[in-house]
């Protein structure tokens, strides 16, 4: 009987404390990240299609969970980077070749359209690399000087805001060369900052 009463007290106390756990608000910049994701999805509906995973693929992803370990992520990222560079060099060389024969076989409109596709591809690869580096940077943050981390995070936040603004501007005029240049510069800055956070040792 005493035992039961004690257990009831326990239950009541745990439930009361659990109920009193504080409600947390996410940081303000989180909506900016979500907004950027959604804007990206709007620009790349084909990416959305690829992102749909059926349950079998999800199961496979869980099986491959070891890839989430930092050393495997780094290795995968390196492979991706090298492969990306190789493909880029190939594409650029193909485009150079195409350019030489363009006057004969292709209209300038077609070349422009292909170039724009390449730019879209570049943005896609930057986004993908940044997502991966964000994970790695977060994992490494706890090993670094908090002041350094805070400064870098401020920089990251302002770069993400700049990227979101550029993307909004590109929604109005998708191929504005100046905005594209700002966006790519912001991507490069963000990528190098995250890479520094991910690889720096205290």
């Amino acid at each position: 009987m005493t035992r039961n009463t004690h257990d009831d007290e326990w239950d009541a106390r745990i439930e009361r404390i659990a109920e009193s756990l504080p409600v947390q608000d996410p940081p303000e910049h989180l909506w900016k990240r979500i907004e950027a994701d959604i804007a990206y999805e709007k620009m790349h509906p084909e990416h959305h299609a690829h992102a749909k995973e059926d349950s079998a693929l999800q199961w496979l992803r869980w099986r491959l969970a070891f890839l989430a370990q930092p050393r495997w992520s780094m290795a995968a990222f390196s492979v991706l980077l090298i492969a990306g560079l190789a493909v880029s060099v190939y594409i650029v060389s193909m485009r150079s070749h195409d350019t030489r024969t363009a006057s004969v076989r292709a209209s300038s409109e077609q070349l422009l359209s292909e170039a724009r596709d390449d730019i879209d591809q570049a943005m896609f690869f930057y986004e993908r690399a940044i997502t991966k580096l964000t994970v790695l940077a977060k994992q490494n943050e706890k090993n670094l000087d908090p002041q350094f981390v805070a400064l870098q995070n401020e920089k990251i936040l302002s770069l993400r805001t700049a990227i979101t603004e550029c993307k909004s501007a590109l929604d109005e005029n998708r191929y504005h060369p100046d905005v594209q240049q700002y966006l790519l510069t912001a991507y490069v800055d963000l990528q190098t900052t995250l890479q520094e956070l991910a690889t720096k040792k205290n």
Binding site: I14, I17, E19, A39
Partner: protein, 196 residues
């Protein structure tokens, strides 16, 4: 008129979402998604934070959840409660994220004060809350989800069943097991169940 309607529950339940707002989301209006985000962010973020035990994973889970909402809003069936659907996406995201990162070192940050101190012995309650929070984040995933929905979000077992697609009986059983595990671990940590 506000697009958000107050739900039936007297407890701090998330607001119900008007059909018109869902339609605007379906139409891909970013402003509508932001309205939904503002309405639910505290509820979802708190749940994710308690689930993972750290704010980084909580932020990522919330981000993934809203991306999934954007992707799948077209498939949302009006017959289900929007909040139930939203919580289901969040918990699925949290669970699959946890599975991906299971091998990672557990990182927790639980320094906080209770939103409304439960008794005169505030310090003891805060200490117990921090310990409880830590132990919650190490429960098996489904037990953790059930415990959090029931004990911190005020869901009924029927609502939990609908959200997690399990039976009410399973929900009750998971909740009971979660509570027993927590009591055992708190006892092992030298905490007595009695007040004060």
């Amino acid at each position: 008129m506000s697009m958000l309607q107050q739900g039936d529950r007297t407890r701090s339940a998330p607001p119900a979402i008007a059909a018109e707002l869902i339609e605007r989301c379906r139409a891909g209006q970013l402003g509508a998604f932001e309205e939904v985000y503002r309405a639910y962010k505290s509820f979802l973020y708190s749940l994710a934070w308690r689930f993972h035990g750290n704010r980084f994973d909580a932020e990522d889970s919330l981000q993934e959840t809203f991306l999934a909402v954007y992707r799948n809003i077209g498939r949302f069936e009006g017959s289900a409660k929007f909040s139930t659907w939203l919580y289901r996406i969040l918990l699925n995201t949290c669970i699959s994220r946890k599975r991906r990162e299971r091998t990672d070192e557990q990182k927790t940050d639980f320094s906080f004060e209770l939103s409304h101190p439960a008794s005169a012995d505030v310090e003891a309650d805060v200490m117990l809350a921090q310990l409880l929070q830590r132990e919650i984040s190490t429960l098996p995933e489904l037990q953790r989800a059930v415990f959090l929905l029931y004990a911190t979000q005020g869901f009924t077992h029927e609502e939990i069943g609908e959200t997690l697609r399990i039976s009410q009986g399973t929900s009750k059983s998971y909740y009971h097991r979660a509570k027993e595990t927590l009591k055992k671990r708190l006892r092992a940590a030298g905490v007595d169940g009695r007040e004060g």
